[in-house]
């Protein structure tokens, strides 16, 4: 399979690059497909491909339409989820704790985990300044969250809407969401320190845990008193904890007495804000600057230059599908400056990232180094979220089981097997195909193919993927030939070569003779749906 993918990657390379380039761009149609999958989660329509064929300049216009598409919000939620890790399968409380039926467990987990992500996605989609993610006075909720938490979610409404908590929490955007702090929990020893580290990592791209630490062996870290003393006296500890302790001291409004109690977890506790200095022995602060507490933390972050660089870096990582390294410094800095010039509008940042040669690369060029070969992903795997939406759009098939979306969880679903992030044990998306991924893709393709053939050809349902062909049509009949062509375009954004077309016709005919036309279509479609040209982009 991997060799097939590499061969495929080579086959899709454009050939009009200047000599000596590090990257060779994708052909326009495949670039359109990449943008469509990244920004909408679906492959381009036939009409969109036609527009691009008629006018290559239409790419920018189509990208703008993708950015205006409401599905962008879902895509942003997926991007953010890979980094923020809030879409867990299990929180400290679940549906039974709220006296909800068990079949709402998935919806509850999903809703809680998406609360901060939806807030960021809505701010991005609405072209509000990115600083709103740490200064907004509202959050986002759907009907389920509106039911279980003290929110002003309008009765009878549907979908995700802006809401306000009524429990005294300050206006600090995602920093005041339950969903963030249900993911990043703490305890009486940790005292919000892990939460402080999460803020540094998520909003400033400062991973305190990655700093080298040299400890004197005499430090008694197995004793609480020894640890507490070391934090404030040992240089190797102070280096990080001088930052962590004041940040942690600002987070005690989310301190819980019983960490698995729904009342304690659902509400903010403003009276506990004042306990930070009592428990930690330091006043709230932000990298050496005194702050009054959580109420001023959002403004402090919004005025930190690292916040903007981190936004640019994380957007690049999401769209390049790889971590950013030191070699990317200049590009990231240009993105950051562009972000500032654009007034901190996240959609404009997406435009800038999708303009980078790293994003548009279809293959490495002659000037590429061995390091480029190791790190660049000129062929990207569709994420589980992308596979879910693109397959559903094409075939109508959504893989569910007892209320669980199987590509969106790992208990009992297949999110990690499909290359995704569970936010706990797996924190980076899979970048290269693997055995379990291949098995998963095979089963998904089979199920989706069977679903679409049964509904569209056997049961006579509404046409979605096979637009005109009937079970009586054979290769060479116009309906058969035209449908195969449009399936190729919709799945791969390209037509089959004459040689491939001939092979497909022959295989279908052989299958039809032994299994009948419905099975032949199922087998053909399942092969196409797991083809690297579909599952990759």
């Amino acid at each position: 399979m991997i060799w097939t993918l590499l061969a495929c990657t080579t086959a899709t390379v454009g050939d009009s690059e200047a000599p000596g380039a590090r990257y060779e761009s994708l052909p326009e149609a495949l670039l359109l497909r990449r943008m469509s999958l990244d920004l909408r989660g679906v492959t381009p329509t036939l009409d969109e491909l036609e527009r691009l064929e008629q006018d290559p300049e239409a790419l920018d216009e189509l990208r703008r339409e993708f950015l205006d598409d409401p599905r962008l919000e879902d895509r942003l939620v997926s991007f953010f989820a890979e980094r923020w890790h809030t879409r867990l399968d299990e929180f400290q409380v679940g549906a039974p704790d709220y006296h909800l039926p068990g079949d709402l467990e998935f919806e509850l987990e999903r809703s809680v985990g998406e609360e901060p992500l939806r807030l960021m996605a809505r701010i991005a989609y609405d072209d509000r300044p990115w600083t709103d993610i740490v200064t907004a006075d509202h959050s986002m909720a759907n009907p389920l969250l509106g039911q279980i938490w003290e929110l002003d979610y309008p009765a009878g409404s549907q979908g995700w809407r802006e809401v306000h908590y009524d429990d005294g929490r300050p206006a600090v955007g995602v920093l005041a969401t339950n969903g963030l702090w249900w993911r990043y929990t703490t305890n009486s020893s940790n005292m919000n320190r892990s939460r402080a580290a999460a803020i540094a990592r998520l909003l400033l791209c400062q991973d305190l845990l990655s700093r080298p630490v040299s400890l004197d062996g005499a430090i008694q870290l197995d004793e609480e008193d020894g640890t507490a003393e070391a934090i404030s006296t040992v240089p190797g500890c102070v280096a990080c904890h001088a930052t962590i302790e004041p940040l942690a001291a600002s987070l005690f409004g989310f301190w819980t007495v019983i960490g698995y109690n729904p009342d304690e977890l659902s509400s903010y506790h403003p009276e506990r804000e004042q306990l930070g200095p009592v428990y930690l022995g330091v006043q709230p602060g932000y990298y050496g600057q005194p702050i009054e507490g959580l109420v001023e933390l959002g403004a402090a972050i919004a005025n930190d230059s690292r916040f903007y660089r981190c936004a640019a870096q994380s957007a690049a990582e999401a769209l390049w599908r790889r971590p950013v390294g030191t070699r990317d410094f200049r590009t990231i800095d240009e993105l950051r400056r562009g972000f500032l010039v654009d007034g901190l509008l996240y959609r404009e940042l997406l435009v800038r990232v999708t303009d980078t040669e790293e994003y548009r690369a279809g293959a490495l060029g002659p000037a590429a180094t061995e390091e480029d070969l190791q790190r660049e992903r000129t062929w990207r795997m569709q994420s589980p979220d992308q596979l879910s939406t693109s397959v559903e759009e094409l075939t109508g098939f959504l893989w569910t089981w007892q209320g669980f979306e199987q590509l969106a969880n790992d208990d009992p679903g297949y999110r990690v097997l499909a290359g995704g992030v569970d936010g706990w044990a797996v924190t980076r998306p899979q970048q290269d195909p693997g055995l379990t991924w291949a098995i998963f893709v095979e089963r998904l393709a089979q199920a989706a193919a069977a679903h679409t053939v049964d509904r569209e050809l056997v049961d006579g349902g509404a046409r979605r993927l096979l637009l005109q062909v009937e079970l009586t049509d054979r290769p060479g009949d116009p309906a058969w030939d035209e449908d195969l062509a449009q399936v190729y375009l919709r799945l791969f954004a390209e037509l089959p070569s004459d040689e491939e077309l001939s092979e497909v016709q022959e295989i279908w005919t052989q299958l039809e003779s032994s299994e009948g036309p419905a099975e032949a279509w199922k087998l053909l479609l399942s092969a196409l749906l797991r083809d690297p040209r579909f599952v990759g982009y």
């Binding site: 007495v257 109690n261 304690e264 506790h269 506990r272 009054e292 109420v295 403004a299 930190d304 240009e334």
Partner: protein, 292 residues
């Protein structure tokens, strides 16, 4: 203001397209902190603080004894099978014959002893439950309460540790009906002349207040003393340095001074003193102890 600055600092490149050092430095300056904690401006004045303190006081003073009574009232509905375990129950969900529903976990312990003529009474209650009456009103808890009292003829003392979230929609007390969240320590004592209660920690009943070594007293010359803080609508805290005359200066916490106030909190302070038990009735001297 920000936009012109941003535009003025848009990236420049040399002829080869390489960002120059100066352009990068300027761009970095763009995002340099333009804000500091010193910029915080009080949204409230002294009168706002007084009004908030007085309004909050109308909800009453949260009393753990009321929470305990509410819990024990529920336990009188125990029908032997629901909830199993009596006051120390663990029930996924059960409904008694009389229509009361128990769901969750409870621990309740009560101890009483007598030492040197003084009664020692302590009780501990940990709740992670939702209890529902037949009329649909619920009592929900997520926390723990510890009360240790010693009551004698000349002296009563109490040590309180009050934590977590408590709400009883069926209560006739405002603070309990609207919900209560606290992390609070209390030490009280009462003798024949005066009673006093010192509180450290925070309580949210309607609005969040924080007691920093605040002492309530039955002494008419000093009903309240210490630093009492209350949270404003903007999330900032406002301090009131209560003096024995019931007056004192206010300020934005860590910031500007806002003037002196004398809030009417006598009723509230008296309610706080209810947390301290009364003295035992004095034993009548019958003159019989020595006997014939």
């Amino acid at each position: 203001m920000l936009i012109p600055l941003i535009l003025a600092c848009s990236p420049t490149t040399d002829p080869k397209g390489t960002p120059t050092a100066s352009s990068r430095d300027t761009a970095l300056d763009l995002a340099a902190p333009a804000w500091s904690a010193d910029d915080a401006v009080a949204a409230w004045d002294a009168q706002d603080i007084q009004a908030a303190l007085e309004l909050n006081a109308t909800l009453g003073f949260a009393n753990p004894e009321s929470i305990r009574r509410s819990f024990l009232d529920f336990m009188t509905q125990d029908d032997g099978t629901c909830p199993s375990g009596g006051e120390n129950f663990g029930s996924l969900k059960c409904t008694t014959e009389s229509g009361y529903t128990f769901s969750g976990i409870s621990i309740y312990q009560e101890r009483s002893s007598s030492v040197d003529g003084a009664r020692q009474q302590s009780w501990t209650h940990v709740g992670d439950y939702k209890l529902t009456r037949p009329d649909g009103t619920s009592f929900e808890s997520g926390g723990g309460l510890v009360s240790s009292a010693t009551v004698g003829t000349g002296l009563a003392e109490i040590d309180l540790k009050l934590r977590g979230s408590w709400i009883d929609a069926g209560s006739n007390m405002g603070w309990f009906r609207s919900g209560l969240s606290w992390l609070l320590l209390g030490l009280g004592r009462r003798d024949a002349e005066v009673g006093e209660l010192t509180l450290d920690g925070g309580v949210t009943t309607g609005r969040a207040v924080y007691f920093d070594d605040v002492r309530f007293s039955t002494d008419p010359d000093c009903r309240i003393e210490g630093t009492l803080s209350i949270q404003g609508d903007d999330g900032h805290w406002y301090d009131w340095q209560a003096g024995c005359d019931g007056c004192g200066p206010t300020s934005l916490q860590g910031g500007e001074e806002l003037g002196s106030i004398c809030p009417a909190l006598d009723t509230w302070a008296a309610a706080a003193m209810l947390l301290v038990p009364g003295l035992e009735p004095e034993v009548m001297d019958t003159g019989l102890e020595d006997g014939p």
